[in-house]
Symmetry: C2
Subunit: 394 residues, 2 copies
């Protein structure tokens, strides 16, 4: 059966292959004295807190499970608006907030609404592979621009200026980023956005990890710049609702009716159950839980980054948010006598029973030199992993 | 802000405008002796039965709310497979069954995987407006072919043959159809599929209303033809889980890895909660409830179609499934002195306080002559509506 060119362009995750191998070996060694430690998964090890669970169960039993408005429940859009005021001291009108079936649906809607076939979007390399594929799904082309530790693995304005061509439609940034856990400096973002605006382009910022920020310098939202920024958000990460599939985006006012039309037709609405549950995310009791968990993620980073460095893995940019560490394994590869991060990841998995993600999925810029560790695991698991890595590598 | 051509092509539902007007007037007359009867909504008036609700609550409290595999929980794919065996005496391997975020995500994935920019899909006129927009989202073009009561408002093979051109990629049928509630005759479907296969095209059949079939002649699935048919399905209608956003599709085996890649990237996975809940849809106790509800829908049709006919609204094809009646209002328009179904719907809403959907959304083929009634309301509501229509129109 003939498939579309678009479908050819959307490549599978290598991480799935590695994950599968890890799960298989993991099953074999489950009862050994060295069971697999999974640091390859980009999913919080927490589930939705009690009030959120109760709100969902209540909605289900009350039959609040019919279709909702395409843009989401008004009450939820209002709570998100309130949260921006509370957390970021920012006035975002509820009308600009569109609730979606995860950040996935938000990115899909934004790309379908804005990208013409052949349009190009500039993105940092490394970056989360799905993000390029939302561009591909809209028949656009993701142009990956190599970054380095010098710019916190983020783009800078000069790079955007040089790369901007006749078909460039905008930039798609992520801050904090997956896989690096590092954020764009606010003044760099400001300069990029000013340039993009001057060219009539789009600034799309994936902020799904933003509330999991550990550093006030990088903890602000891009929405503070002006109302032309499009911000993509999720209930999956900070709010620990991965499998519920809920997110939101904040749009320039003129774009709201366009996205409403697309959302009505292509999604009908986001999950009613998840929306009723999400209302409870913003209760003071839930926010206390979320802040405790954010502190736990920060503490893990504080423990794990120095531990990796002691084991001979360089961390050129200390993550300021999210739950990832982007580690340079060049020296460790030499030590183990392997070539590149792909083989390194397999070697670590086989010899230390620690599952990690090689850089390949995230781009081409020195990604054979890097691996991603997820710290969405307990401190015990991280301590075990650190100790095994030290034994293996030093 | 410049939006894509694709976004321009995706037009809003008129039904939303009518629905809004109905809701506004409805609020005004809510306490009168003639409150609004809403027969404009395409959503079952039932919610998920008890076992399904309990399964969802249990999953939530057990924290079974992480990401699932992109193609859905293996257990759910197996239960759907078993259901095909039980209900349709058909062997559909679980590996061909892909669980999706509603029929919406299924149609989106199928169109993105198979339709190249500029490709055409043949569809009956009238048909559900979203279906054409999934084609538009993939930069394809929906070609609406006019139908009439003579073919049950479905395509026939000769029509497909004549319309087939160099850019035609396939057909997108719906059986039973929204807005007509009528299904395609199995021998007609067989001939269309044979022709489409001979041209190397795609037969995509929206079967979301299929389990709500009232007539054995039309109650079979297109999947019985061969494994090249793509069937789109939903937990919304028969299974009463609209706002949960869950559906599935059955694919030719070769297409499964392609759709998996797209689904991984564009959706991550369908709602974990909804999937755990849906497992309980197939419990004998739930199936008994669903069959009772199907009987209730059949009884409503049996009451309402003759009632409309007595009121002077012709129903040229008696629906054999779903919960819609597609009624010819030409004579009634004359009687009220209005021109066409749009004005007729407003007149009925204002004078009889019965909200209905004018044909305009569903296509161009005599749709100014037709209105859609939804029978997804209680028998009492239908009796009230019938009586008011009789008073107004006779």
């Amino acid at each position: 059966m003939k498939i579309s060119q678009r479908a050819h362009n959307i490549t599978p995750f290598y991480v799935m292959e590695v994950g599968k191998a890890a799960a298989e070996l993991g099953a074999q060694v489950a009862d050994s004295d060295q069971p697999m430690v999974y640091l390859n998964i980009g999913e919080p090890d927490f589930t939705a807190p009690p009030l959120v669970q109760e709100a969902a169960a209540r909605a289900i039993h009350k039959g609040q499970s019919q279709y909702t408005p395409a843009l989401g429940l008004t009450a939820l859009r209002e709570r998100i608006s309130h949260w921006y005021r509370q957390r970021y001291a920012l006035d975002i009108a509820p009308e600009r907030i569109v609730v979606t079936a995860g950040a996935s649906a938000a990115l899909q809607l934004a790309c379908l609404a804005l990208i013409e076939a052949g349009d190009e979007m500039l993105m940092p390399d490394p970056s989360y592979p799905c993000n390029r594929h939302f561009v591909s799904a809209a028949d656009g082309r993701a142009v990956l621009l190599p970054t380095s530790a010098a710019t916190r693995f983020q783009l800078d304005a000069e790079q955007v200026r040089q790369a901007w061509g006749p078909r460039t439609r905008g930039v798609l940034l992520a801050s904090p980023s997956n896989p690096t856990g590092s954020s764009i400096a606010p003044e760099v973002l400001r300069d990029i956005h000013a340039f993009v605006q001057a060219r009539g382009g789009i600034t799309l910022v994936d902020e799904i990890y933003l509330p999991l920020s550990f550093d006030a310098r990088y903890g602000g939202t891009a929405l503070a710049l002006d109302e032309n920024v499009i911000s993509i958000n999720s209930f999956s990460k900070y709010f620990n609702m991965t499998g519920w599939r809920l997110g939101w985006m904040v749009l320039p006012p003129a774009l709201v009716p366009v996205i409403e039309r697309l959302a009505q037709n292509l999604f009908i609405c986001p999950s009613a159950i998840a929306q009723h549950a999400a209302l409870a995310c913003f209760e003071p009791e839930s926010l206390v839980v979320y802040e405790q968990r954010r502190s736990a993620f920060a503490a893990r980073r504080d423990f794990f980054v120095p531990a990796l460095q002691s084991a001979g893995l360089d961390v050129p940019v200390v993550p300021d948010g999210a739950f990832y560490v982007w580690a340079d394994c060049s020296k460790a590869c030499e030590r183990l006598g392997v070539q590149g991060s792909w083989d390194f990841a397999y070697e670590v998995m086989r010899r230390a029973h620690v599952a990690i993600t090689p850089g390949r999925d995230f781009g081409n810029a020195n990604t054979a030199q890097f691996v991603r560790f997820s710290t969405a695991s307990s401190m015990d698991a991280l301590a075990t992993a650190a100790q095994r890595l030290t034994t293996l590598l030093t």
